[in-house]
Symmetry: C2
Subunit: 512 residues, 2 copies
């Protein structure tokens, strides 16, 4: 019965905690030298978690950052930084991008495919990297997030083993570069599709894939090729370099993502950044408790959004004002006039501690990977307002499992928002489903973070992991797909048939 | 330096040992009821290791066996047995098979493809299973080795979650049933190919694959379909049932096998049966020590071979007699007249303890999975004499890494055998390479056996793992390969072209 299950879960928790302790105490510290080439913004948030863990285990870390970095501090007890001088203002660029985006985009489908612009813009910044300076130091490994793949070129330049902390690569989702990805059931990011597609949806999926392939070939590829030509003797192809990476620490798992083919050197670390909730600051705890049995709604739209359009904020605030719940809203724009007494506007919130708080009933979020993984870890249903990049796709995965609901920013008004919010709050299935995902996610032989650190250290111990990398990437496409074999066999068959026909003709001629 | 490496290895050993202890002590015992449907012979050897572990963790186990079982005891403290009455004599069948085989088979290529006969013969035996008797007991799970897939049908019949302890399925290697397997770099078992193939080898690989597909469709399939029709309402397709299995505990890993695409529900447990060596019996230890600096050669040809052809045994014995090493030879036939004083003939040997003994220099073996995995685990180079089934392929994987050498039984004479034996003994690279494989194999975040038990218990905890199973298996092949989409797009393009041509014709007509 229920007691049984509780005892099991208790045992499991003890087991997981003790394992973590044991692994932390007994894992040897190799004191490796790791060169980290991160991506700024929210990508840095989870790279930093990994950097913290690697630092704690005694490794020396050097982080490459740009002089106008948004999130990556120059001075840190965790790492030595290597600063590259850059003029452009990243934050300004994203501000402009978002404004345009909110004006023109009214369908979910376009949201994702524009994400590639980002990678392009950022790679231009990193093009000014002065790589030779890094050679003096001896590193064991390059750890990089290949959403911007300059770090991948850097590893090639320095002839070092390469570990990726990855979900996105410049041409789209990471899996597409290394694992067989049948388009019949693997939705291309941005298509807004799931792993169950009808005929027309499969056509759409193929169409989106074609766009990505063309973008890779004609838009993204040339920029990286320029980088390759500049630094690598004889040039290089950044997509081949990605395929040669020793280990892909993939920020996903199959509780979150749809099941699909994978490769021996892909290690799933989805939710590796999640930690048990810490107590809230006293004033926040008091506010949360004051909600009583109705509980709390929390809302945040992530790191890129400084201000929601004022009219949208007004509509949302008016709905919150009507709810019996208390609301904590991370909002930076003008204070909405419709704001209720139950709504606390904050500049920043301890998101994971709030998500792990038993009072929290619904998480209104933009659907960034970090937030969605934390919602799964803590088992809080999500009302998602996707803005760009992978956010719609992330939320779609929750929605497909009945653990979340999507409402597009363009469709948000007081009526639609109220209806959606109440549905996620009151329909019991949302909570049941996200709690089931949470149980599955937490039930792993070792914690994702320990897995991540293990494989980073593994690559250092063995100076790479080439035995996990398939032959596939070394073949031309016509050999990989056996097109040459097929053409040969078909022409052999045709020749044979011709001889046979001639022979038959002779016979018929003779007998005639 | 070397001290550093030793300290690291020591730390690692302590870590692994402590982890195992901790996991053993803290893993909760769910006391699940597990129905095991094993395959007899060497397959039972490693299924039994898993059964022992599951028993030790408090699960109740029922094992289905045949009345004339070869290896599976009726009474055991580990399990309750369920005996099926069967008339045919399995051992006699294999004896006949081997004799024929040694007469006709002179090339490595044919060795494997005949393996399918075995599955066919055995499924006939199990066809007489009286399934309804098993229904009375409530099981949480069916654990089976699908080399004979009757247990898979049984799971369907009993509507139970299914975990496979697998490497082979009736139609060949397990991966081919569930994971994308490009024939351009994934060698079909029996083809004698590796993951590096030239054009002609890829044609050969395609040819072998075609044979397997035809066998599956016209030879193996119908037998299982008969079983399905008999027990499952509306029939079933055993290959679809395999695809629906919750977890594939795969008896391989990528230290042993060539890297290839895999699936989320495939868990690699290669070498899970390997354990640290125990001290040898006193007389054997004395014999081993008497070899002095020259060390010991051990030889065994596995569980199926009662007697090597006498003339081959004579040749081998004469070579052993000339060596300065001591030899321990598991041999059941007549005592060869050429036997030297240095050669000890035994009925049975503590294989893993001998492999783990520092005196052991070379392992002369038939290349069964268990033996090859143990050679990797203990780091002993292998001189392989493959007989049938997967043995050639197993040995080929060692040979490709320079950790072993193959000599075909048909080619064995005193000259060839001596040359090969001395090469493996004296060429330092063999030992270096197998020791490298051993280091890689032992460097895992958790031990393969713990991983196996974790996933068996995981399936019981969550009553299956359907979230790890892709949509691919539910699609018709033309949808999976997007053939329907392609045909549609091509005909749309053709229609468009026709309209355009007509239009062009009109224009030309008008202007003319």
């Amino acid at each position: 019965g229920q007691t049984d299950v509780n005892v099991k879960i208790l045992f499991l928790k003890i087991f997981v905690l003790l394992s973590i302790c044991l692994i932390s105490f007994t894992t040897p510290c190799y004191g490796g030298n790791i060169l980290v080439f991160p991506v700024d913004g929210s990508h840095w948030i989870n790279m930093k978690v990994l950097v913290e863990e690697l630092h704690a285990r005694g490794h020396n870390i050097t982080v490459v950052r740009s002089s106008n970095s948004w999130y990556i501090a120059e001075k840190s007890p965790l790492y030595t930084s290597f600063t590259v001088q850059i003029k452009e203002n990243l934050e300004e660029f994203f501000g402009k991008y978002l404004k345009n985006h909110l004006k023109v985009c009214r369908t979910d489908d376009v949201i994702q495919s524009t994400g590639v612009i980002r990678a392009l813009e950022i790679v231009k910044y990193h093009d000014s990297l002065c790589m030779p300076h890094l050679i003096d130091a001896q590193y064991d490994l390059v750890l990089t997030d290949p959403a911007v793949s300059a770090g991948v070129v850097l590893a090639k330049y320095l002839k070092l083993p390469l570990v990726l902390n990855v979900r996105w690569i410049p041409s789209g989702e990471g899996h597409f570069a290394v694992a067989p990805s049948p388009l019949s059931y693997i939705p291309v990011p941005g298509s807004g599709l799931t792993d169950k597609m009808d005929f027309m949806q499969r056509i759409k999926n193929l169409f989106f894939h074609s766009i990505i392939v063309l973008q890779q070939k004609f838009v993204v590829g040339p920029h990286y090729n320029a980088l390759c030509d500049k630094y690598i003797e004889g040039g290089c192809d950044v997509f081949s370099l990605l395929q040669e990476a020793d280990i892909w620490l993939f920020r996903s798992d199959f509780v979150f993502d749809f099941p699909r083919p994978t490769m021996p050197n892909i290690v799933y670390i989805g939710g590796f950044q999640c930690k048990p909730a810490q107590p809230l600051p006293a004033d926040l705890e008091q506010f949360v408790q004051s909600a009583g049995e109705h509980g709390v709604i929390i809302m945040t739209l992530g790191t890129l959004v400084n201000a929601l359009p004022a009219e949208v904020a007004e509509e949302i605030a008016s709905v919150f004002a009507k709810m019996p719940q208390k609301v904590i809203w991370r909002h930076k724009g003008e204070r909405p006039s419709t704001l209720g007494n139950n709504t606390l506007i904050v500049d920043w919130m301890p998101q994971k501690d709030l998500l792990g708080h038993p009072q929290t009933k619904v998480f209104v979020a933009h659907g960034g990977t970090n937030g969605v993984q934390e919602a799964i870890y803590h088992g809080v249903p999500v009302l998602g307002i996707p803005l760009f990049f992978d956010q719609y796709d992330n939320l779609l995965r929750l929605q497909e499992r009945g653990a979340g609901k999507i409402i597009l920013l363009a469709d948000v008004n007081s009526q639609t928002f109220e209806q959606a919010l109440k549905e996620v709050l009151h329909q019991e299935s949302y909570r049941q489903n996200i709690e089931r995902l949470s149980r599955l996610h937490r039930d792993q032989p070792i914690a994702p973070m320990d897995r991540a650190v293990f494989w980073v250290e593994y690559v250092m111990r063995h100076k790479g992991a080439p035995h996990l990398c398939t032959e596939a990437y070394k073949m031309p496409w016509y050999s990989y797909y056996c097109v040459d074999v097929m053409v040969f066999l078909l022409s052999a068959a045709a020749t044979h048939l011709e001889i046979y026909c001639n022979h038959l003709g002779e016979i018929m001629f003779c007998t005639a």
